[in-house]
Amino acid sequence: MDLQKINVQKSERKENLDNLIKQLAYPLIAIITSFVVGGLLVAAFGSNPIVAYSAMLRGSLGDITSIGETLVITTYLILTGLSIAFGFRCGLFNIGAEGQFVMGAITAVWIGWGLKGLPPFLHVTLTLVGGALAGGFWGGFVGWLKARLGSHEVINGIMMNYIAVQLSNFWVRTSLNQDGKAFSVEIADSAKLWRFSETFSVFSKTRLSGGLFVAILVALVAYYVLNKTQKGFEIRAVGFNQHAAEYGGINVKNNIILAMFSAGLFAGLAGAIMTSAMQYRVNQLMGFTGFGMDGIAVALVGNNHPIGVIISALLFGILQKGGPMMQIEGIAKEVVFIVQGILILFVAANFVRIMHDKYKINKELKNSLNKREGK
C-alpha cells in the first residue's frame, strides 16, 4: 500500500521535473535559434557575427566592471519586468510602468533631498518605500479608473506616462533644480543605497548596489504571493476569466485595483533604486526612459513568471550592456537592436513549442494511420 503511494509520488515528481525541463528547454532553444538567425542577419549587414557576439559577451561579462554594470541593468529590468508580469497575471496590460518608474525616481529625490538629517538606514528605507508607493498610486489610479469606470488601462496608462514625465521635468526645472542645470539636486548621503564599491574595491568602477538583492527578494515575494496565497489565487483567477471569478465570489474590481497598485509598486521601486543607488538625482527627460517598455519584453520572455523574469532580466541585461561594446567594435547600433528584436520575437512567439506540438500530432496521426493500414 505504502509502496504504491511512494511510487505514485515518484512518478508525479518525475512528471513535474519533465515539465520543468520542457518549460526551460523551449525558451532556451528559442534563444539559441534567435542568436543563429541574428548572426546571419549581422553577416547580411556586412559585419562579422563572431566579432559581434564576442564583443557582446566581452562588453557584458568580460570583466568584473562589465558584469557589475550588466547587473545594474538587470536590477531595473527585474522590477519593471515584474511590474508588467504581475499585471498580465491579472489580465491587465500595465503599459504605465514607464510613468510609475519616473514617479518612483522623482519621489525618491524629494524624500532623499528633502528629509535631511535622518539616520542612514531609515532614510534609505523611506526613500525606497516612498518611491515605490508613488509608483503604486500612479498604477493604482489607473486600476481604479478601470474598475470603477471601465476605461481601458492601456489608454490611461499611456496618458499617465506623459503626465509623469512632464511632472518630473517640471520639478527638475523648478523646485528641485540645481543651479539652472538640466538635472535635479543630489540626494543626501544618508539616502544613498549601499554600493558594492563601498566595500569591495574590485567593483570600484561600477554602480552595482544592494538594489540587486532588493529586486530579487521582491521577485521571490511576488512569486509567493501569486502562487501560495489566497489573494494571489484571486488575482490569477481574475486573469484567467473575469466572469468565472466573479461567479466564484471573487471581487473582481478590488483585485484589479490591487493588481495595478502592486504592479506600480514594483515599477516605482525600480525608479527609486535608480535615484538612490545609481544616479543620485533625476535628469531632465527628453522622452521616456524606456525601462518600462523594456519590462514588457522581459515579462514576455520570462513567461510572466517571477522567477522567469529574473532570468530574462539577466539575459536582457547582457544584451543591453553588450550593445555598446558591439558599437565600439564597429557594428551599427541598429543591428544591435535587430538582434534583440529577433530574440523577443522568437521567445515570445513560443514557436518551438508550437512546432514541437505540431510535429508530435503529425507523428501520432501517421502512426495510427500506419497501424490501421497494417491491420
Binding site: 538640466a182 554602480r207 558599437q327
Partner: protein, 336 residues
C-alpha cells in the same frame, strides 16, 4: 636547428614590420579617440552630426579611425564613457547632460583623457569646451532688428535651461543695440524634439505681429521654419545653416555653432601633446566657434556690413555680450 629557424622567422617578422611602417604614406598619429553621443545620436542634422564632423576631419588628418558609441539611455552615459575609455586614449562626450557621468568616469579612469562639449567637468584629465552662443545670437539679433518692418521680433527657446538662456540674452542685446524700440516676444516650447510645438508658438507670435523669429529649440525649430513658409515671415535657424529646411527660402540666416571645431580642437591638442586637463576652452566669435551663415542669400549688403562692424567690435572687446538674463539687465546698448 630549431633555434636557427626561430631566429630566421623573427628576423623576417621584424623586417616585415619595418616594411609596413615604411609603406604607410600618411603620418599616423599615435593616439586613438572616440566619441559618445547623447540619446539623440547620429543623424540629428545638428549637434551630434556636427561633433562627428570634427572627428572625421581628425581622421583625414591623422589617419586614425575614430570609434563611435551612440547612447540609448541617459542612465547609460557613465558605463558608456567607461567602455569607450577602456578602448581609446581620448573619449569625447557631446552634450550638457554628460556633466555628472563625465565627472564619475574621469575619476574611474584617471590615466585616460576626456573631453566634454557644452558643459564643464572640472577634473584633472578632462578638457571642457564651451561656446559663446550669446555672441552669435547677438549678431543674428542685429540682423533681425534691421530686417523687421513691424518692430516685433520673436524668440522661441527649447527647454528653459541655462544654455538656452545664453541665446536669449545675446539675441535681445543684439536687437536692443540697433533698434531700441523693438518689442521682443519670448516663448519656450519646453522640449527639443516636437516640431508641432515650435510651429504652434511661431504662429502665435506671428499673430502678435512678429515678422522675424529666432529659434533655439533643436528639432522644434523645424516647425518654426514650416510656419515661416506658410505665413511668410522670416525664421532664423540655429546650430548649423538651416536654409535648406525652408521650401520658400524663408530662413533669413542661421546662428551657427561649430561643434566640429570643438571636438577637433580637443583631438588636435592631444595629438600635438598639448592636452591640458582641468582646462575649459571657450569658443566665441574670435575663435570662429560661433557666427552666422546666410546660404539662402537673404541678408542685404548694408545689413551684412553693419553686422560685420558689430562682429569686429565684439572681437575687439568693445562690446561685451551678456550671457545671462541678469547680465542683460545691466547691458547698455552700443550704437555703432
Amino acid at each position: 636547428m630549431l633555434k636557427r629557424a626561430l631566429v630566421l622567422v623573427l628576423v623576417l617578422a621584424l623586417m616585415l614590420t619595418m616594411f609596413t611602417a615604411c609603406g604607410q604614406k600618411q603620418a599616423t598619429a599615435n593616439v586613438t579617440f572616440g566619441m559618445v553621443t547623447d540619446t539623440g545620436g547620429l543623424g540629428d542634422k545638428s549637434f551630434n552630426d556636427s561633433a562627428w564632423a570634427g572627428f572625421q576631419k581628425a581622421e583625414k588628418e591623422y589617419g586614425v579611425k575614430p570609434t563611435i558609441l551612440q547612447s540609448t539611455k541617459q542612465e547609460d552615459y557613465e558605463p558608456n564613457l567607461g567602455a569607450m575609455a577602456q578602448k581609446t586614449d581620448l573619449t569625447i562626450a557631446v552634450g550638457f547632460l554628460f556633466e555628472n557621468a563625465m565627472k564619475a568616469a574621469a575619476d574611474q579612469y584617471p590615466d585616460k583623457k576626456f573631453g566634454v562639449i557644452d558643459t564643464v567637468a572640472d577634473k584633472p584629465n578632462v578638457t571642457s569646451v564651451l561656446f559663446k552662443e550669446h555672441e552669435g545670437s547677438f549678431l543674428v539679433g542685429v540682423i533681425a532688428a534691421l530686417t523687421t518692418k513691424t518692430n516685433v521680433i520673436g524668440f522661441i527657446g527649447g527647454m528653459e535651461l541655462e544654455v538656452i538662456k545664453k541665446f536669449e540674452a545675446g539675441f535681445k542685446a543684439g536687437v536692443m543695440s540697433v533698434n531700441p524700440n523693438a518689442t521682443i516676444l519670448v516663448d519656450y516650447t519646453g522640449d527639443f524634439g516636437k516640431a508641432d510645438l515650435g510651429k504652434e508658438l511661431a504662429i502665435k507670435q506671428y499673430t502678435q505681429n512678429a515678422d522675424v523669429i529666432f529659434h533655439a529649440s533643436g528639432a522644434c525649430g523645424i516647425g518654426v521654419i514650416q510656419a515661416a513658409d506658410e505665413k511668410g515671415f522670416w525664421a532664423i535657424g540655429v546650430d548649423q545653416d538651416q536654409s535648406k529646411e525652408s521650401k520658400n527660402n524663408k530662413v533669413l540666416c542661421s546662428m551657427i555653432k561649430r561643434v566640429d571645431t570643438g571636438t577637433y580642437t580637443v583631438i588636435k591638442s592631444l595629438v600635438d601633446g598639448k592636452f591640458e586637463g582641468g582646462k575649459t576652452i571657450v569658443l566665441g566669435l574670435k575663435e570662429e566657434g560661433v557666427g552666422y551663415s546666410d546660404n539662402g542669400k537673404n541678408v542685404p549688403k548694408d545689413i551684412a556690413e553693419k553686422t560685420e562692424a558689430y562682429r569686429k567690435a565684439i572681437i575687439d572687446g568693445k562690446i561685451v555680450v551678456p550671457a545671462t538674463i541678469d547680465e542683460l539687465s545691466k547691458f547698455k546698448p552700443v550704437q555703432l
